[in-house]
C-alpha cells in the first residue's frame, strides 16, 4: 500500500494530467458516498468536498512528502490528493479494516505519515497551532520542510487561528496557513459570521503575506502554495492563503443546504474546477478532444470498483478499541 500511495503522491506533484485525474477521482468518491448512505452502509456522518477539488490537488502538488499537512474533518479530498487511495478513504468512511487507520476513525479521521498527512482533526481550528508545531520541528532540526494547515472559513473566527498564526509569525516558522473559503461555516453563510470580505486581509495583523487565490483553478492554487512554500523553506516565515471556493453539498450528510440562495450553485458550477481544468488541458494540447470525458468515465469506474471492494472488507474487531490508546 505504501509504495502505491507514494506513487500517487508523486504523480500529482509532477504531472498536470494526473492532477486532473485526481480531481475527478475525488469527485467520484464523494458522489459515491451519497449512495453508500442510501444503502445504509455508512454509520455516523460525513462531510464531502465536491466543488473544492482544485484546492486539495493544487496544495498537494506544491508540497513534498516530507512536509506535514494538518487537515480538517472535510478531508477526503485532501487525503486523496496527497496520495491516499479511494479504498483507504472509503474504508475509513465505512469503518472497514482497509481504511487508512484501520476503520477505527470514520469519515472525519484519516492519517498517512508516509505522505505527511497528520491525523485529520474534527475540532474546528485545531490544526492551525498544530501546524505551527510541525513547522517548529523543521526549524529546530534545520530541515527545509514546511508544515501546512488547511482549514475552512469557519476556523478563521476561532481563537486557535489567531494564536497559531501569531506564534508562527513571531517565531518565523516554515508554515503555510491555507483557508478553504467555501462560503459556508456549517449552515451559515460567511457574511453572517465574518465582518470582512477577505480572510486573507487578516495576515496584515500578523505581519505576514496574505493572498486571495482562485480556489477553482488548480494551477493558481499550485502556484500560490509553491511561492509560499519557497518563502517558508528559505526561512522567511509563514503565509496566509485564502482559497475562494464553493461547497457543492451541504455541511454534512443531513444538510441539504436549503439556505442557499437560488442560482448560487449554478453560478459557481459555471466555473467548475474539473470542467475548466479539463478544457484547459485540451486547449493546451495535453489532452485530446473528448479525453477528459473518457478519463472521467474510466476513473469513475475505478472508484466504483474500489467502493465495491471495500464493501466486502471486514470491520475492525473488539480488540481494536484497546489498541493505540497508550503507546
Amino acid at each position: 500500500m505504501s509504495s502505491e500511495v507514494l506513487a500517487r503522491r508523486e504523480a500529482v506533484r509532477t504531472d498536470r494530467t494526473a492532477r486532473f485525474e485526481r480531481m475527478v477521482e475525488i469527485r467520484a468518491l464523494e458522489d459515491a458516498v451519497r449512495g453508500l448512505f442510501a444503502e445504509g452502509l455508512v454509520h455516523g456522518t460525513t462531510h464531502t468536498c465536491q466543488g473544492q477539488e482544485a484546492v486539495s490537488v493544487g496544495v498537494a502538488a506544491a508540497l513534498r512528502p516530507t512536509d506535514s499537512v494538518c487537515c480538517t474533518y472535510r478531508g477526503h479530498g485532501m487525503g486523496m490528493a496527497l496520495g491516499l487511495t479511494p479504498q483507504q478513504v472509503c474504508g475509513e468512511i465505512m469503518g472497514r479494516v482497509v481504511g487508512s487507520i484501520g476503520g477505527v476513525g470514520g469519515s472525519m479521521h484519516l492519517c498517512e505519515t508516509s505522505i505527511g498527512l497528520l491525523p485529520t482533526m474534527a475540532i474546528v481550528g485545531a490544526g492551525v497551532p498544530v501546524a505551527a508545531g510541525a513547522a517548529l520541528t523543521a526549524q529546530v532540526r534545520g530541515t527545509d520542510d514546511v508544515a501546512v494547515a488547511v482549514f475552512g472559513d469557519g476556523a478563521a473566527n476561532i481563537g486557535a487561528f489567531h494564536e497559531g498564526i501569531n506564534i508562527a509569525s513571531i517565531w518565523k516558522l516554515p508554515a503555510i496557513f491555507i483557508c478553504e473559503n467555501n462560503q459556508y461555516g456549517e449552515y451559515s453563510p460567511i457574511a453572517a459570521t465574518t465582518p470582512i470580505a477577505n480572510i486573507a486581509d487578516r495576515a496584515v495583523s500578523y505581519g505576514i503575506p496574505g493572498e486571495v487565490v482562485d480556489g477553482q483553478d488548480v494551477d493558481a492554487v499550485n502556484a500560490a502554495v509553491e511561492a509560499a512554500a519557497a518563502r517558508a523553506r528559505a526561512g522567511d516565515g509563514p503565509s496566509l492563503l485564502e482559497m475562494k471556493t464553493y461547497r457543492y453539498a451541504g455541511h454534512s450528510r443531513s444538510d441539504t443546504a436549503p439556505y442557499r440562495p437560488a442560482g448560487e450553485f449554478e453560478k459557481w458550477y459555471e466555473r467548475d474546477p474539473i470542467n475548466t481544468f479539463g478544457a484547459r488541458l485540451v486547449a493546451e494540447g495535453l489532452l485530446a478532444d473528448g479525453e477528459p470525458e473518457k478519463i472521467t468515465a474510466r476513473v469513475t469506474e475505478q472508484v466504483d470498483a474500489a467502493v465495491a471492494e471495500v464493501k466486502t472488507a471486514d470491520s475492525p474487531g473488539v480488540a481494536s478499541m484497546f489498541e493505540n490508546v497508550l503507546v
Binding site: 532540526r141 508544515a147 503507546v327
Partner: protein, 339 residues
C-alpha cells in the same frame, strides 16, 4: 545526590534531558528569559539557546497546539502552563488532539509531549489560581498524569515524563516549589511512571496520597497516637499503582485517601472503588476519603488553611475511624462547623 529546591529539581531534570537529547525543547510564558515564573527553567536559555528554549505569547491554545504538532513530528516538547487553570483554554489540544493522535493514526503518530502545570492552593492566589484540576484529565484515555510531591520525585518523574512516548501531564503543587530536599540525579534518579512510593510503614491503616497531600499524610502519621500507617505517594495518577495500594490494604485492612481536590469527582473515588471491588474481604473498616469540600478555594489565609486537609484533620479522622469502626463525617458536615 544533591540538595535542591523542587523548582531547581525540575529545571535540572529538563536540563539533563535536553543535554542528552537534542529533540527536547521547552517553551511557555516567561520560560526563557525570566527562567520561568516559578524558576522552573532557570538557566536553560543560557545553556541551550533560543532555538530550544522559548518564551511564548500568552496563548495557551496556541502553544499547546504547537507542542502537539512538534511532538507528532519528532520533537519532545515540554510546554509549561503557568497556572493549571490556564489549561482550560487549551484543553482541546491536550485531551482531544494529543491524547488521541496515536489512536487516530493507527499507532503511527506518537505525541511525546509534556504539559507541566503548577497546581494547588495555599499561596493566597484566590479561587482562579488555586485549583488542582486532575479531574480534567484522569478521565481522558491516552494521557498519563504524574504529580510531584517534592524535590525528590520532581526530578525523577519529570525526566520519566519527557522520556515517555505518550503525552504526559506533570502537575506541580505550587506550595512545594521552594521546599528543599535530597535529589538523586542522573539516570538512576528517574522514577518510572505508574509506580507508587511507600514512604512510611505501619500496621493499622493505608494512607494514599498524591502531590501536596503526601507531606500532610507523613505529618499525620508522625503525630499519630496509638496507630501506625503505611503512607503511599501514588506519584502517577494515570495509570496508578493498584498493586502498591492493594497489597498495603491487604496488610492494614483500612484505607484513607487524602486529596487536595473537592470531594465530588476526585481521583480518590477511583482508588476507593477499586479497593472495595477487589479487596472487600481485606477491609476491617469502611474506606474513607479525606478531601476539600465542594466549594471554591477561599482567598483569606485562615479560610484557605481550613479548606485544605491538614495533618491534624487527617489524624483526627483516622483516629475516629479506628475508634468507631465507621467512616466519620467530613468537617463541614458536623454540627456547628459553618458557624
Amino acid at each position: 545526590m544533591a540538595r535542591m529546591r523542587m523548582n531547581q529539581a525540575i529545571a535540572a531534570a529538563i536540563g539533563d534531558e535536553m543535554r542528552e537529547n537534542p529533540d527536547v525543547v521547552t517553551f511557555g510564558e516567561d520560560v526563557a528569559v525570566a527562567g520561568g515564573p516559578f524558576k522552573t527553567s532557570d538557566g536553560l536559555l543560557e545553556e541551550f539557546g533560543p532555538l530550544r528554549v522559548r518564551d511564548t505569547p500568552i496563548a495557551e491554545m496556541g502553544f499547546m497546539g504547537a507542542a502537539v504538532g512538534a511532538a507528532a513530528t519528532g520533537l519532545r516538547p515540554v510546554a509549561e502552563i503557568m497556572f493549571v487553570e490556564f489549561l482550560g483554554v487549551a484543553l482541546d489540544q491536550l485531551v482531544t488532539e494529543a491524547a488521541k493522535f496515536n489512536y487516530l493514526s493507527g499507532g503511527t503518530v506518537r505525541v511525546p509531549m509534556v504539559m507541566r502545570a503548577s497546581v494547588g492552593a495555599g499561596l493566597g492566589f484566590g479561587c482562579q489560581h488555586s485549583q488542582v484540576m486532575e479531574s480534567w484529565m484522569v478521565g481522558s484515555p491516552g494521557l498519563k498524569i504524574a504529580v510531584l510531591s517534592g524535590p525528590g520525585n520532581a526530578y525523577g518523574l519529570t525526566r520519566a515524563a519527557i522520556r515517555d512516548d505518550n503525552p504526559v501531564a506533570v502537575l506541580e503543587p505550587r506550595i512545594l516549589y521552594a521546599v528543599r530536599g535530597d535529589v538523586t540525579t542522573g539516570v538512576e534518579g528517574i522514577i518510572p511512571l505508574g509506580q507508587a512510593a511507600t514512604l512510611a510503614s505501619g500496621n493499622d491503616i493505608t494512607l494514599v496520597s498524591c502531590g501536596s497531600t503526601v507531606r500532610t499524610c507523613l505529618a499525620a502519621a508522625g503525630e499519630a497516637d496509638g496507630w501506625t500507617a503505611d503512607v503511599i505517594d501514588l506519584q502517577t495518577l494515570q495509570p496508578w499503582d493498584t498493586e502498591a495500594v492493594l497489597s498495603s490494604v491487604a496488610r492494614t485492612g483500612r484505607l484513607a485517601v487524602v486529596e487536595e481536590c473537592p470531594y465530588s469527582g476526585g481521583w480518590g473515588a477511583d482508588i476507593v472503588a477499586k479497593v472495595v471491588s477487589e479487596a472487600f474481604g481485606d477491609l476491617s473498616a469502611p474506606p474513607m476519603r479525606i478531601t476539600a469540600p465542594d466549594v471554591h478555594v477561599p482567598f483569606g489565609k485562615e479560610l484557605e488553611q481550613r479548606y485544605l486537609p491538614s495533618a491534624e484533620y487527617v489524624t483526627a479522622q483516622v483516629g475516629e475511624l479506628l475508634a468507631t469502626g465507621e467512616s466519620p463525617p467530613h468537617w463541614w458536615e458536623r454540627d456547628g462547623a459553618l458557624v
